[in-house]
Symmetry: C2
Subunit: 409 residues, 2 copies
Amino acid sequence: MAHVNEDYLKLPGSYLFSEIARRVTQFKIENPQADIIKLGIGDVTRPLPQAVVEAMKGAVEEMGRQETFRGYGPEQGYDFLIKKIIENDFLPRGVELALDEVFVSDGAKTDTGNFQELFAQDNILAVSDPVYPVYVDSNVMAGRTGPVNQNKQFDKIVYLPCTEENGMKPPLPQTRVDMIYLCFPNNPTGMTLSKEELKKWVDYAKENRSIILFDAAYEAFIREEGVPHSIFEIEGAREVAVEFRSFSKTAGFTGTRCAYTIVPKEVKAYDAKGKAYSLNPLWLRRQTTKFNGVSYPVQVGAAAVFSPEGQKQIKEIINYYMENARIIREGLKNAGYQVFGGINAPYIWLKTPGNMGSWEFFDKLMKEANVIGTPGAGFGAGGEGYFRLTAFGTRENTEKAIERIRTKL
Amino acid sequence: MAHVNEDYLKLPGSYLFSEIARRVTQFKIENPQADIIKLGIGDVTRPLPQAVVEAMKGAVEEMGRQETFRGYGPEQGYDFLIKKIIENDFLPRGVELALDEVFVSDGAKTDTGNFQELFAQDNILAVSDPVYPVYVDSNVMAGRTGPVNQNKQFDKIVYLPCTEENGMKPPLPQTRVDMIYLCFPNNPTGMTLSKEELKKWVDYAKENRSIILFDAAYEAFIREEGVPHSIFEIEGAREVAVEFRSFSKTAGFTGTRCAYTIVPKEVKAYDAKGKAYSLNPLWLRRQTTKFNGVSYPVQVGAAAVFSPEGQKQIKEIINYYMENARIIREGLKNAGYQVFGGINAPYIWLKTPGNMGSWEFFDKLMKEANVIGTPGAGFGAGGEGYFRLTAFGTRENTEKAIERIRTKL
């Protein structure tokens, strides 16, 4: 008799964004004339940069000719892309990487979800609260989290509360943890850490031989000086951290799919006897066994992001979104809301008025302003009473949404 | 202290095709002038069909325009592709599927590797021997297989020997198994099962409440009548089977990446109390949590495979490869080799001459004929003494390789 993985049965009923989609669909059925503006799911709206479009079309044509056709590529990505990633995203910040420390993949969600496979089931993980749900859910599926308790939290996870008091910056854990998920610029709060603040985490990890799983999917939105773009800007991080990056938000690849993960050769995990194993060859083994690489035309498109035209075009896109972020942030502040983020990140995290529950605020905003956001509670217990808006909408919709929030709520 | 997943340490040193690549690279360094012909890895050589190229270029252009840009798609694939899959690949064979029973993905390797996540660790798995290594390796990583024994097999796996005596058709297991991996047309042997033979497996699975993980990645190469293309042609299979399909070999997508998996709603696994859980919503939960869907232009390309021109073009490609298969099969037979497969599959499985070890034959073939194949032992202990050649080369190389084998060995 085939036994089901009972850890899957511990998962909350549905993934956050599916629940939002369900409510929106229901509302649309009941209000077919409503002019709904979606600032909920972090999906981009600007088209692919023309440099990417042209490069991808060329690559598709290559695939149609006998002489230039390409079959299986390296599972970890083509060198032509990996070289550009290193030269553009890391070397200018003083971070040196070997070609085989960069693993190209089809998404940061995929990689942040899968990377935990390299760890034993008995590792204790720490996540900030609120948190991007994938870190938690993928570990629940792997049986690493224990059962849900009455706070709707998992027994074996160490939650690091991000609150008004600590400026939405997770405190170091009180008890020993082995795997630490950090996301900066943060999803959902939009906040960042300074180099000094991030260094505390690297030092903690070194002292405790923990691993930091650093999600830097939003680094391109950092505008202020002194905010680290990569954890590898911090001394010692190569020994304790892996980093996840993505083209999704940077270059409009949410529907095109390309990302990459940095696994320095020094990062190690330990067997029961304390013997150290480098994670780099284990991740290579994982990827060569369960993955076949990213579509060749997509990798060519991603490489074009680093061309001079590509860089110019994505800069315009990022400026566009960050102007949206400013509009949301300032509009809400002027309307009396307490807001976080939106300066170095495309997310604005707001406190719901009058201590309203965040799903309640979701429904109110949908019904009264026809604006869709993301309830903070969807990111964990610590998100209750907060709400996330994204800067990825069109300018027109962003302005309209803020106007409606100011006038209709 | 971060603990490593020690199950990873049980894996053989390197994935089969990486080891082959290593030996070939070494040989090339030592023999830079050698004219090497690769009939080893099952990678295609014909370019993408023009119908696919044109469709993909159009989709890339859509992604570059504001009005037609697409961000995140449904994780399980777009309906436009799923509808075409059902209408073309299943309905004509009398198999009805709902839209939400088809999950589009980036590869059959990915899906066959990941699907085991839905099962508890205590399930016993059966694989044919020889076997496509991913079924075994992904279960080793998940801790389901126990340690390696002196036969280089995993203690808890039930191996089903495919031998000359049983015509390379796996016998039903002698002891109870819960998860059964079947691949037909088979990789590596190239053999198929008749409907009656496959029905025995479906009946076994129903009787034992086991799950059949049916890999049909090579179904497009079936030329004979009466050979099932889908396990769902067999009565009762909807209750016990999932099926993996791919565009890789059918339409030249090894570098473009698109596949799909069928999970009927009736397929169930059980918790410790015997309560049944449908695998379909669990797989949806897995995919929505750890995957973000296939690149939109790639899905448009896959849909174009089903257009009248696309169908005509892939038929030509498949005919081309199957003529290669005939040339290899007959050439080897005429040269006195004992061969299997190559009639309904792009793989030819040959017995090494004089009971030579299969890695020994690999080296001999590489050195004396400059032809690269795949050692049978790479597919498990039962593959020792056998060797796989693929029909995916060019016509010229295929003819030259057979000529060299006939004259130089």
